[in-house]
């Protein structure tokens, strides 16, 4: 089957396939609806699309035929709390419920190869959910939700904190690492039964100085794990780039010269943990490309140095921003893709050194994902 690139966009699920040296774009489903996340499960080929219908809430659909037909399945949801209306309506009217509700399905991840049917979902507000039946039902991971420090998590870009990155160690599927904006790095070694806030060494520049290294108030914009060396985790953080060699327990700040160390996405080579890509933007108060010039940064030496690549990218002023799931590398480690909130999609051949505008004028792109 030809390689396929899935795009979760503001106006539908789009897919690109190579055709005679070009990329052919098609609508795979949900035209007009906001698709917040997409997953092609490598274990059985199933496609999942998480929707944010705005008026009508978060929904999840699955296709078992490559996107030709879709079935709505259960979406992750918080249990209804057993509030009762106040007995005296004169005291409080109208009465209010206070329990949580899923506002966004932010990431959807396939479980490990030894756990068929298992899926993980991260949401806003910051819920971690597990399904063991291909999305027919979901269970909130209460050990994390009920952690006494969770009320200290805070929103980063959204009003509430959310879970956007879920890494599962392919050597041992009980070992998991989460990235939370803004709640730092969380690790489990027992398949989610217990959690610990780690990520020691991450530094923030937006809290009081004594809180700069507080693991709980870190805002990892995105973390990605090297498939062949899962102890290596790269982090594009709110105010820097960090590298962990011990599966997220500790991080070292990368201080190599770079056009900027602010951005959202990070891709790591599936075989080479020292090689990673970033798309720099100016900084948090100006989320546009540095000098209006879109570029991709790559390190091949574990962050000692960066090279920037502009070959095939726009020469003129551009305002394209790649959001946190908007950069991805294929399983072969040769071809990247990035999609912008402005709605442009580029494919980067030869390890992201030569870029081609594969599709312009698309809706805002939330996620690019190689199938």
């Amino acid at each position: 089957m030809a390689q396929r690139l899935h795009l979760a966009t503001r106006k539908g699920l789009l897919s690109l396939t190579p055709s005679r040296g070009k990329w052919r774009m098609g609508v795979t489903g949900f035209l007009g609806d906001s698709v917040s996340t997409v997953l092609e499960d490598p274990r059985d080929g199933a496609l999942y699309a998480g929707l944010n219908l705005g008026h009508f809430g978060v929904k999840l659909h699955r296709s078992d035929d490559g996107g030709r037909t879709w079935t709505e399945i259960a979406a992750p949801a918080f249990a209804e709390e057993k509030d009762q209306p106040p007995l005296d309506p004169m005291k409080e009217w109208p009465p209010k419920k206070t329990g949580p509700s899923v506002e966004l399905l932010w990431t959807l991840v396939a479980g490990a190869a030894d756990r068929p049917g298992e899926l993980w979902a991260g949401t806003i507000p910051g819920g971690l959910f597990r399904s063991t039946d291909r999305g027919a039902s979901w269970q909130l991971i209460e050990s994390l939700w009920n952690d006494p420090t969770r009320p200290q998590w805070f929103g980063g870009g959204y009003d509430r904190a959310g879970i956007h990155s879920i890494c599962i160690d392919p050597r041992d599927s009980k070992r998991m690492v989460l990235g939370i904006s803004s709640g730092g790095i969380w690790r489990s070694s027992d398949a989610g039964a217990t959690w610990k806030n780690e990520g020691v060494g991450l530094r923030n520049a937006y809290m009081p100085p004594d809180k700069a290294y507080d693991p709980l108030s870190q805002d990892p914009h995105r973390i990605t794990q090297c498939a062949a060396a899962p102890d290596t985790i790269w982090c594009q953080h709110h105010n820097g780039i960090f590298l962990s060699r011990d599966a997220g327990a500790t991080f070292r700040e990368i201080k190599a010269r770079a056009p900027s160390r602010f951005g959202f996405g990070v891709a790591v080579h599936p075989e080479d943990p020292k090689t990673a890509w970033f798309v720099p933007a100016v900084r948090d108060i100006n989320r546009t490309p540095v000098d209006h010039r879109l570029m991709v940064m790559r390190t091949t030496d574990g962050g000692r140095s960066f090279k920037t690549f502009t070959n095939g990218l726009p020469k003129g002023p551009t305002f394209d921003l790649m959001y946190r799931h908007g950069l991805d590398i294929d399983a072969g480690g040769e071809r990247l893709a990035m999609g912008s909130t402005t709605g442009n999609l580029w494919v980067g051949e030869r390890q992201g050194t030569r870029w081609t505008l594969a599709a312009p004028h698309l809706p805002p792109i939330y996620q690019v994902s190689w199938g």
Partner: protein, 89 residues
Amino acid sequence: MPRLSFTPNLERHLSCPSARLPGDTVIAVLTAAFEGNPRLRSYLLDDQGRLRKHVNIFVNNEPVADRDFLTDRVADGDEVFVFQALSGG
């Protein structure tokens, strides 16, 4: 019995024809509708059973006052309309 009808925009996602349903509160009428159409619930109500932020329900010409518990009273012959708010698209 009250009559429940829906914005046609919901038809994009699931079938929801108008129907006469039993109940003396908005939530009772909705619950009767959900019994025959369980998917409908999550389109109108959030995880806690509150009316979704950008969905409105009118009883005759009045918007419901209680959006969390939906205890507004309805009577025989009342029209209960489910609308999509113009916000939140």
